[in-house]
């Protein structure tokens, strides 16, 4: 087996060749057909859901289930008069800051725990305890301590965001195959080299999976923080719309919130693409 050596292969009979090309074309056609089918199905699911929603809405009061058309109108209204933007801004800021704070703690603690088995043994009961406490139940306490501003929301968001990242970081850093560790040992690698050139790149997919979870959790944390006490933010809007029986507004805010959540999740995915092998970061490093 020598892949680099070109071997002389007798030309196949032309019929066979034609058939081969046809198969390739068929594959391409199948691919296109599959994509078309997927798009059609996606559109169909949306149409059917909206139809079902409309139908159910027609059966009940708009206080219970507003019609999708009405919700759409409200979204357009609050966007046009600009009243929603300060709420979106505040909530986004809380989520992002909570995500950054939680990720920094999760990553830092994860690295520390992966580094020292002793620390891991000492800290793990407290970590488990910190997760066993229903953290969202702590939200009123943080509001009491930190007030009604964004600080309390950031802390709550960070508190529930850090743990999945911490766990993933520890697993990713520790799950390196023993053969690779032996290779590094045989190449006289020191601790820092083993960390930066072996453990960290190995942990990268684990860390990004943790970051995606952290972003979703930070969103939950920020909203719950706003529920407990705030007059600005999408969570506060939901509480206000609930208090004024404005169910249509509540649905509009929920839809905006969902869109925001998806966008932030995609942001982390996009960040991951930068760090993927063959990605921008890898290419920059190679040209260096």
């Amino acid at each position: 087996m020598n892949e680099s050596v070109a071997r002389e292969v007798p030309a196949p009979p032309s019929e066979v060749e034609d058939e081969f090309i046809e198969t390739l074309e068929d594959d391409e056609q199948n691919g296109r057909r599959r994509i078309a089918l997927e798009l059609t199905l996606t559109a169909a699911v949306i149409v059917v859901s909206l139809a079902l929603w409309s139908f159910l809405a027609s059966l009940t009061s708009p206080l219970v289930l507003p019609a999708p058309g009405r919700v759409g109108e409200v979204i357009v209204d609050i966007t046009k008069n600009g009243s929603v933007f300060k709420h979106i801004e505040t909530t986004t800021l809380e989520i992002i800051l909570g995500f950054i704070l939680g990720s920094a703690i999760g990553l830092g603690a994860g690295i520390a725990l992966a580094w020292s088995p002793l620390l891991r043994r000492l800290a793990s009961p407290y970590l488990v305890a910190s997760q066993a406490v229903p953290k969202l139940a702590l939200a009123p306490m943080f509001t009491l301590w930190l007030g009604y501003g964004i600080a309390s929301k950031v802390v709550i968001a960070a508190l529930i965001a850090f743990f999945p990242l911490l766990e993933n970081t520890v697993v990713g850093l520790c799950a390196v195959e023993s053969e690779k560790l032996m290779l590094f040992k045989s190449l006289l690698a020191n601790e820092i080299q083993t960390f930066t050139k072996l453990r960290l790149p190995h942990a990268r997919p684990y860390i990004f999976a943790g970051l995606r979870m952290a972003m979703l959790f930070a969103t939950v944390g920020a909203i719950v923080g706003e529920y407990v006490g705030s007059d600005v933010g999408l969570g506060a809007m939901i509480i206000v719309s609930d208090g004024t029986m404005n169910t249509t507004l509540m649905f509009a805010v929920l839809i905006i919130l969902t869109a925001l959540g998806i966008l932030l999740y995609k942001l982390v995915q996009w960040m991951e693409m930068l760090f993927q092998r063959g990605g921008v970061v890898a290419r920059l490093r190679r040209t260096r």
């Binding site: 892949e3 040992k185 045989s186 190449l187 990268r204 092998r277």
Partner: protein, 252 residues
């Protein structure tokens, strides 16, 4: 005993602690290997041949006895020694070129000084054009060649190979053996080659060291006096069959 041995193993013992009590892996190993010699270690699985190799590489401490590399006692891994494992152990997030250059980075050498040599060695091993591929885009044989290039890059005097072709199919393995001999002859390196394949050991080696079952002791050292350079034709010689039969019988 001649004082210019490339590798000298004296009175080496290794006992592992395990839950079921101590396991004696190696017992009283004495071996001298000349510079430029090709020596194979064979024995049944669990006879301690990999352990012996790891002790020589400075990765595992012996319980007793010592190893000298060019008269210097082994206390830890050394740049003089290149290692090839059964698996290629390439880093999947690095390109082949970056994988091959890993030792340069870890030894704090200047990368630019080794890129040309890396490309040349990759070319010699039939990997030209795959420098920017990732390991999972290569076949098992090609991955193992990349691992060999990595071990050769910083020009170690000694190459320790732990069943490097064990995971390859028979034809690939045969070809790799021929290529390995070519590299060995061109470079004059000392090679210790662990295998459980008798034919492979006979084909490659100047001497074959046969280890007994656990605890591993040197049962016999067989000098292989087949003409070099060896090719596939060598394997059809009657002496080749004789060596194989003898070693097979000794292996039990």
């Amino acid at each position: 005993m001649n004082s210019t041995a490339a590798i000298r193993v004296t009175d080496l013992y290794k006992t592992y602690r395990s839950v079921a009590g101590p396991v004696r892996a190696l017992e009283g190993i004495d071996v001298d290997i000349r510079p430029g010699e090709f020596v194979s270690l064979i024995g049944k699985s669990g006879c301690g041949k990999s352990t012996l190799l790891q002790i020589i590489a400075g990765l595992v401490r012996p319980s007793r006895g010592k190893v000298l590399l060019e008269d210097v006692p082994v206390v830890k891994a050394s740049r003089k020694v290149g290692l090839v494992f059964q698996k290629s152990v390439l880093l999947e997030w690095r390109t082949i070129l970056d994988n091959v250059l890993l030792p340069v980075e870890l030894f704090h050498l200047v990368r630019a000084g080794y890129v040309d040599r890396a490309r040349e060695l990759l070319g010699m091993m039939g990997l030209a054009g795959f420098e920017n591929s990732y390991p999972d885009e290569l076949s098992g044989g090609m991955q193992q060649r990349a691992a060999i290039v990595r071990s050769l890059l910083c020009d170690p005097d000694i190459l320790l190979m732990d069943e490097p072709f064990g995971a390859l199919d028979a034809l690939t393995r045969e070809q790799m053996n021929v290529e390995l001999l070519r590299i060995w002859q061109a470079s004059g390196k000392t090679i210790i080659f662990v295998t459980h394949d008798i034919a492979e050991a006979v084909f490659l080696s100047d001497r074959v060291i046969l280890l007994s079952e656990r605890p591993g002791r040197v049962k016999e050292i067989v000098k292989i006096e087949l003409p070099r350079p060896r090719t596939i034709e060598t394997t059809y010689l009657p002496q080749f069959a004789d060596y194989r039969r003898h070693l097979r019988e000794q292996l039990g």
